[in-house]
Subunit: 145 residues, 2 copies
């Protein structure tokens, strides 16, 4: 039903509304009833199939230490049922994560994600993030605290 | 000149011939005279613009510790001038890298790359790899040695 441009616009709105603004219940508009995290090293939900409640919980837990986080799309290639993006992420580290008590430090990360669509809803993703880069920044933040 | 399918096939051949097989001089057929590494955290050449000799040196140095390395394309989205892939990488750790003397251990990694084309030649890339995952595997290899 949807074409490449529509899928790209849907993904852009989803990232802005749900992940950047933190309107977690807006997931209802974007996320399918089953959402599969195919590959996402370091993500606690990697390999899982989430229902909508599970997906919202993932957003909530992921955003909690970084409440002002912002994903900026760097590049995009879109088909109707797959949209691949590279992105930059910035955030300040306001809450504890395992091994890293809140540092207040501004951190940034880059990553790439393929989002899968079916019938205008997101059904899963395959993602790589430079998690080592974030750990290195947080470690510096702790040393400097 | 080239379309999406041609660019995808060119990239597949390039990865197989140059990076997997290690026929480094075959870079002449695929790589432009200027190749820019836009973003590639952990890559020693990140941010640099390489000439063909510099590109070949990068392949040589990168492959040396992992001579049997193999990239397998997992997913691909192609346009004429951009091809985005997700990939899996396997290798055995046969040579020293900074901080990690050769362990002999089999390691694997996932990553995503956008390759840029112009006139049927590769002009650069934007890449994310799960380098932390590799370090964790190598550290286990050293502990178990």
């Amino acid at each position: 039903m949807s074409n490449a441009k529509e899928s790209e616009e849907l993904l852009t709105q989803f990232l802005e509304e749900v992940w950047n603004t933190g309107n977690i219940d807006a997931s209802d508009k974007y996320v399918a009833s089953k959402y599969t995290i195919h590959d996402d090293p370091g993500d606690p939900w990697e390999g899982q199939e989430l229902d909508l409640a599970g997906y919202k919980e993932r957003v909530r837990v992921s955003r909690a230490p970084f409440p002002d986080q912002c994903f900026t799309i760097q590049d995009v290639l879109a088909e109707a049922n797959r949209v691949m993006i590279t992105w930059l992420w910035t955030a300040s580290h306001r809450g504890d994560i395992p091994g890293f008590p809140a540092t207040g430090k501004n951190v940034k990360m880059s990553g790439a994600t393929v989002y899968y669509f079916d019938g205008g809803r997101l059904t899963g993703h395959w993602q790589i993030t430079d998690r080592l880069g974030v750990y290195m920044q947080l470690r510096q933040g702790m040393a400097g605290a």
